[in-house]
């Protein structure tokens, strides 16, 4: 029920983000979703890709610091209040969200929200019990 995200350390100087995109593009790695956290000095690029191993390897070969992180993907109907229900549930169970990002599926009916929790297992159990659709990693990678 968990999804593997790759995270990349990016120094705050021009061209680094473009470099990551170029390396992945040339290696034929497809990006499903991404988010960039930025500070004044550095950024952390988080990606869900179709081929994690290849992405990680090729970026490391090019001198980037890369790590894998387990995140949780939830599918919600793309309508007002969809996100609010999830957050209320998490709040009720006192589960912290470290960060999150979202995208809308191709057919346009559902949105996928990627969450990074401090207690991943507990979050999955809670959300599943409440009837939320926690996506398998494979589904997301091939989406």
């Amino acid at each position: 029920m968990k999804v593997e995200q790759i995270s990349i350390f990016i120094e705050n100087k021009s061209g680094r983000l473009a470099e990551v995109a170029r390396i992945l593009g040339e290696a034929g790695v497809n990006i499903r979703a991404l988010s960039l956290a930025d500070t004044s000095d550095f950024g952390i690029l988080r990606l869900i890709v179709n081929d994690r191993e290849k992405a990680k390897q090729i970026l490391k070969e090019n001198g980037f610091t890369v790590s894998k992180t387990e995140v949780v993907a939830i599918e919600v109907p793309d309508r007002p209040g969809g996100l609010s229900e999830i957050l209320d549930t998490l709040d009720g169970a006192s589960i912290n969200v470290e960060y999150m990002y979202a995208f809308v599926e191709r057919c346009g009916e559902n949105a996928v929200i990627i969450f990074r929790f401090d207690e991943t297992e507990k979050a999955i159990t809670t959300l599943t019990e409440k009837g939320f659709n926690v996506l398998e990693g494979e589904r997301l990678y091939q989406m």
Binding site: S7, F9, F42, G63, T65, S67, T69, Y99, R116
Partner: protein, 434 residues
């Protein structure tokens, strides 16, 4: 183990008597042969015959690197060029190089002292010495080379650079001893790792590292990554080259300085007065047997302390502490004295921090700023911003608490700090000196 047991374990009264005899002789010689010294002694109002004890050395004026530059190239030589068989020069990063000349006997003494140093480090005949100190005008390569041959070990004259080939040869030739700068040893380890070669599979047993200041924590890191016993060696071309002082493998606690050839003093660099035994100050050396270019009370600019306490290894020669910096690479940041080696020691205490760092000093609106660049590798990296920011804050706080200077830590991508195949460049000072 000793190379020359009689001299290395000479009881101190005999050693000091020998020093005094040799000191008197060198003072007499430079006064008569080197116009610079005649003038400098005359200016200080001191005649050679006034030196009656080793303590009297403090009455003599100092010799500075500047004096060597001003007499460039051969002005301080005490023999004619007929007797000089070798010339070396320092890199001269700030001004003209300093030039030194060796007579045949000087080379002979240097070879012996370097052979003694190898044995002190636990090296013996039969060892295969991979000598990655640079060959050329720099004294490191040839100094270690001659010592290795004198000892009867097999020496591979690698010199610096061409790292991939170094690793191949180290592996295929079965090198048991590595000689290079400490920063280059870590660079080698990193390169070997990328080539898929594990240092633990090599035959290396001892590493002899010098020519730049390093720390105890860096020793631990080198010993772990290269799987060998790391020994600190000290030397400088003005005095001789490598092998002026070295640790013994028995104690690894201070570097024995070969006192039958050098008289060390530790002084306060500001006042020039001696500091008590065990206290830090600048190392001053007088060469008492050198013929080509004897130096009297040479200001090394290296900061250390000295002890005359007996050592478990049995050598009677005094020990100087690991160099904790140089009095001239000392940074003064907002009035606080900071040695790059102190910051290195702090970084190495923090889990996962690699010894590749760069200090950038600048002055903004009349206020000094210090930026410490640290490389983020997989051990330090986190997908969460707060963890990386905590890392920066931790380092900033440690430096503030221990050194009293405020700095800004900047996390950079791995391998972006320039690697050096010789002496590592640790400081960029962008301040305009007025």
């Amino acid at each position: 183990m000793f190379y020359n047991e009689d001299f290395e374990t000479l009881p101190r009264p005999a050693l000091e008597a020998m020093q005094l005899k040799r000191l008197k002789s060198v003072i007499e010689r430079v006064y008569n042969k080197v116009p610079f010294y005649r003038q400098s002694f005359d200016n200080a109002g001191i005649k050679p015959e006034a030196i009656k004890s080793i303590e009297d050395i403090a009455r003599l004026p100092f010799t500075y690197k500047q004096d060597m530059r001003e007499s460039y190239p051969y002005g301080l030589f005490a023999t004619g060029m007929d007797d000089i068989v070798r010339i070396h020069a320092s890199s001269g990063t700030t001004g003209k190089p300093t030039v030194v000349g060796y007579t045949r006997k000087d080379i002979d003494v240097w070879s012996e002292l370097m052979a003694r140093s190898f044995v002190s480090a636990g090296v013996h005949k039969g060892d295969i010495i991979h000598n990655a100190y640079g060959y050329g005008l720099f004294t490191g390569g040839l100094g270690a080379h001659y010592g290795a041959e004198r000892l009867g070990a097999s020496v591979i004259p690698m010199s610096g650079g061409n790292t991939k080939r170094q690793i191949l040869i180290m592996k295929d030739f079965g090198s048991t001893v590595l000689t290079c700068t400490p920063s280059y040893s870590l660079y080698l380890a990193e390169a070997a790792f990328e080539e898929g070669i594990d240092f633990k599979s090599l035959d290396l047993r001892v590493g002899i590292f010098g020519a730049e200041p390093w720390s105890e924590s860096m020793r631990a890191e080198i010993e772990d990554k290269l799987n060998l016993s790391a020994i600190d060696i000290y030397g400088l071309s003005e005095i001789m080259g490598p092998g002026v002082a070295i640790e013994c493998i028995e104690a690894k606690c201070g570097l024995h300085i070969w006192e039958d050839h050098f008289i060390p003093e530790i002084i306060d660099p500001a006042t020039g007065l001696p500091v008590p035994e065990g206290e830090k100050g600048e190392l001053v050396i007088t060469t008492i047997t050198k013929e080509g270019i004897p130096l009297i009370r040479y200001r090394t600019r290296d900061i250390t302390s000295i002890t005359y306490q007996p050592c478990p290894c049995g050598r009677t020669h005094a020990r100087i502490a690991r160099m904790s910096g140089r009095s001239d690479d000392m940074l003064i940041i907002r009035g606080v004295n900071v040695f790059p080696s102190q910051i290195e020691a702090i970084l190495m205490e923090i889990e996962g921090v690699e010894p590749h760092y760069l200090l950038i000093v600048d002055r903004k609106e009349n206020l000094d700023t210090l930026e410490v660049q640290v490389e983020v590798d997989e051990k330090l990296f986190s997908d969460e911003v707060k963890h990386l920011q905590n890392l920066s804050l931790t380092i900033e706080k440690e430096i503030k608490d221990l050194l009293g200077v405020t700095c800004k830590v900047r996390l950079v991508e791995p391998k972006t700090i320039m690697r050096s195949e010789g002496k590592a460049k640790r400081v960029i000072d962008n301040r305009e000196i007025r």
